[in-house]
């Protein structure tokens, strides 16, 4: 194997996982992090009053915790639930919605009339859930989430919903019986089952990152943004950081993929990525007196009259994130950088959210204690139909043999913690195999998981 290191860009969960995996198999690594600390989007923040705010995912699964080796530092999440607010009434997601006759009628109709190819997300949701449920619930949420109308979005955005109704119901029943928040819809890389439930690591997601960083501390270069990825003859040969060129055998980037064309010199293969868009988000955390204000941990708000499309009361699942008798409600506002919401001050945003939340829960105004606002220009990938073809191609490869783009932003996919971990491991194994110049695995065993085929494809197509 080559002596030149693999350069990893970004010390978030994906970058740290990649670094561990490569180090473990004897591949030299260099991990460049632009910021002055590790953890990327996964950082948690605890304030003086005992409130904890997570930027990004709030929990992981017991399976991921065990795989990383932090199970002893994780608390079980006993309950997690989602509801949908429609016309002033709340319905549990997904089964409560089935108590609404007009939703059931349109879903049944869609079930029996489904035919042909779906070309847009709007068509996909209407054909899958029925016109009424799609138009009143699914599409308004999707549009707020994406910042684009449903008929401009690709149907692949619906692939996120992986389980059958029966299996979702089974997991939900088991969750209730066990008194644990069984994971449902949080991992596609490997199957979910009733023995996989949500846990919260000590120190939040940063606890996960710190554990992953332990064995590879020596390879981390903080405050070292990569300025250039130098490609020659369609192969990455070096990266430039702090003005110094480092010869590398490969680059593993976790940077938002639209940034790659700007970083890479010596090829225009990555040019299509410039068009890929991310939906910026504002997360307004309202600190409140009281507990159990919302009907569930998450309350989806599809009605367009509200500025937010989702409210989350994390303390319903993780009571330790706020002091006793107090809570946090997070309001998710989809926006564009520099639009009216983006430019608002924290106080203005808090006032806007309070005014709207109090239309449903009047007590919040008098119980308001303060707010913390977090903004990110890279919250969710927007699956625009305009670049769907390029996105599908990018899903398989960056087009440069030894340049991999991984992680939530790097893959341009709405993936969660477990998926990031397992899919990064899988990709790094393909990289190690390539560096070792091994033939791809062909001898698939009986009972091998279905993703084996996908994995073999990845090896072949690189």
């Amino acid at each position: 194997m080559t002596d030149k290191p693999v350069a990893i860009i970004g010390a978030g969960i994906a970058g740290l996982t990649a670094a561990n995996c490569l180090r473990h198999q004897g591949v030299p690594i260099l991990l460049f992090e632009a910021g002055d600390k590790i953890a990327g989007m996964a950082q948690s923040y605890a304030d003086e009053d005992g409130f904890t705010y997570d930027f990004g995912a709030h929990f992981i699964t017991n399976r991921l915790a065990a795989a990383i080796g932090i199970g002893s530092k994780c608390r079980d999440v006993k309950y997690y639930g989602e509801s949908v607010s429609v016309r002033g009434r709340n319905y549990t997601y997904p089964f409560g919605l089935m108590s609404v006759p007009r939703f059931v009628a349109s879903a049944v109709k869609a079930k029996f009339s489904r035919s042909g190819e779906t070309k847009t997300a709007a068509e996909y949701f209407r054909r899958t859930y029925g016109r009424t449920l799609a138009d009143e619930v699914a599409l308004p949420i999707l549009e707020a989430w994406s910042g684009a109308p449903g008929d401009q979005l690709a149907p692949s955005v619906g692939n996120k919903f992986s389980h059958s109704v029966a299996y979702t119901l089974y997991l939900s029943m088991l969750s209730r019986w066990k008194g644990l928040a069984v994971s449902s819809g949080y991992c596609r890389a490997i199957a979910e089952n009733p023995q996989v439930w949500h846990v919260y690591p000590e120190g939040g997601m940063a606890g996960v990152c710190n554990k992953l960083a332990e064995p590879i501390q020596d390879a981390v270069r903080l405050r070292s943004p990569v300025e250039k990825i130098i490609v020659e003859n369609d192969q990455v040969v070096a990266v430039r950081a702090k003005g110094v060129d480092h010869k590398v055998s490969a680059v593993v980037s976790t940077a938002p993929c639209p940034m790659l064309p700007k970083l890479v010199s010596g090829t225009d293969r990555l040019k299509p990525l410039e068009a890929f868009r991310y939906r910026p988000m504002i997360f307004v955390n309202l600190r409140l007196k009281g507990r159990g204000i919302l009907p569930d941990t998450v309350l989806w708000m599809p009605e367009r009259k509200f500025p937010f499309f989702r409210l989350t009361e994390t303390t319903q699942s993780m009571p330790w994130l706020a002091p006793a008798g107090k809570t946090i409600i997070t309001c998710d506002i989809g926006c564009e950088v520099n639009d009216a919401h983006w430019r608002m001050s924290d106080e203005q945003l808090a006032a806007l959210c309070l005014e709207n939340v109090s239309k449903l829960y009047p007590e919040v105004s008098e119980n308001y204690l303060g707010c913390r606002v977090m903004k990110t220009p890279f919250a969710y990938p927007v699956f625009l139909q305009a670049y769907e073809e390029q996105r599908v191609r990018f899903e398989r490869s960056t087009g440069i043999d030894n340049l991999m783009s991984i992680g939530r932003n790097g893959e341009f996919a709405h993936i969660l913690m477990e998926d990031i971990y397992w899919s990064t491991l899988k990709k790094m194994q393909t990289l190690v195999d390539r560096l070792r110049q091994l033939e791809p695995a062909q001898d698939v065993q009986d009972g091998a998981p279905s993703c084996e085929k996908e994995f073999a494809d990845e090896l072949v197509t690189g």
Binding site: N20, C21, H24, Q25, N62, R63, A65, A66, A67, I68, G69, G71, S72, K73, C74, R75, I190, N193, P194, Q195, V196, E202, W422, L425, K426, M428, Q429, V432, D433, A441, D443, V444, Q445, D446, G447, A448, P449, C451, E452, F455
Partner: protein, 334 residues
């Protein structure tokens, strides 16, 4: 059993239930598949030390996509062995006094099985039991084997060796890689319920190969992942995981690969009957569900009725070649 003496904390803040004094997490190390030397595996189970509660850690069992080996990663570092094999570990004290009828039935069955493996051995045969524990199998040889056979035992655990020596047996405290034993000197070597405990099965088999005379045999008995009990309980409670002490678990295919990597010839691989993984899978499930102790205690190595019932059930699976244990005989080529 342990669960009686376990001082359970009421709703521990984080991690798995553990004995008092064992609150610190273990030092853990990440592993590749020992057969493929790759990290291409799927997490198939998450569990904890349901039986001895030696730490608050949780553990993942991974299934190698290439060879089918099931392995524990991360797993306790070698420095943690003392803790994960506590003084009340069953292999240190499997006696008639403690286990009653189960001891006598198992002795009789195991003696028959041992002697089956000894067919064709010369009168002056040298036999080695690696991972001999408290010397249970050596005692069976003394009672039922030919007196002219020379039977030795080694075990890497000081506690096991102390227990064996207490019974008057001569055993070495060593692992097979470093044991002071002459090369090419053994006719038959046993690894009974041992290969799943060792750090590197390939390294162990390579050492075994050196100790065997050309044409000599090694008999490996280990938990079988190609069974109905594994399928049923594989996500968490399967007794064969024995979290966190079983580090590599095989099916027939991965055992064959172990033989190939170690340059041994496969003479025979078959399954044999054992009720233990059924009984302990149910026990682990009950423990996890906080079932009452009187119910949990119906499922242990000391309960002849449940052991008997699952022996009958496993006999039915044995008829279709799905017995709970694998018994492999590998031969060192001439």
């Amino acid at each position: 059993m342990v669960i009686d003496t376990l001082q359970q904390e009421k709703g521990p803040a984080a991690g798995a239930r553990h004995r008092s004094g064992n609150a610190d997490p273990l030092a853990l190390t990440h592993q590749l598949c020992c057969l493929c030397q790759r990290n291409d595996a799927e997490a198939i189970a998450v569990g904890e030390d349901f039986e001895y509660r030696t730490s608050p850690d949780t553990f993942a069992a991974l299934n190698c996509r290439r060879c089918g080996l099931v392995y524990l990663s991360p797993r306790p570092a070698m420095s943690a062995l003392e803790r994960i094999y506590p003084p009340d570990y069953h292999a240190f004290q499997f006696s008639a006094e403690q286990f009653g009828l189960a001891y006598w039935v198992r002795s009789w069955l195991e003696a028959r099985r041992l002697l089956q493996c000894c067919e064709g051995l010369p009168d002056d045969a040298r036999i080695l039991d690696i991972g001999c524990g408290d010397g249970f199998h050596i005692k069976l040889f003394q009672r039922y084997g030919r007196p002219s056979w020379n039977v030795l035992g080694i075990d890497a655990s000081e506690k096991a060796v102390a227990a064996a020596r207490k019974s008057g047996l001569v055993v070495q405290h060593a692992d097979v890689q470093t044991a002071a034993l002459p090369h090419e000197s053994f006719d038959l070597i046993f690894l009974i319920a041992t290969i799943e405990h060792v750090e590197d099965p390939v390294d162990v088999l390579l050492s075994v190969r050196k100790l065997l005379k050309p044409g000599g045999r090694v008999v490996i008995v280990t938990d079988n992942t190609g069974t109905a009990d594994f399928r049923l309980f594989s996500r968490r409670h399967w007794g064969g995981y024995h979290f966190p002490r079983h580090w590599n678990l095989f099916n027939e295919s991965s055992l064959r690969q172990l033989a190939a990597i170690s340059s041994m010839q496969v003479t025979r691989i078959e399954t044999i009957v054992s009720p233990v993984n059924w009984v302990y899978s149910i026990r682990n499930w009950l423990v996890d569900r906080h079932a009452p102790n009187w119910l949990i205690e119906q499922f242990s190595l000391k309960t002849p009725i449940t052991l008997g019932a699952f022996t009958v059930i496993n006999n039915l699976f044995q008829l279709i070649g799905k017995g709970a244990l694998l018994r492999a005989t590998f031969t060192r080529p001439q």
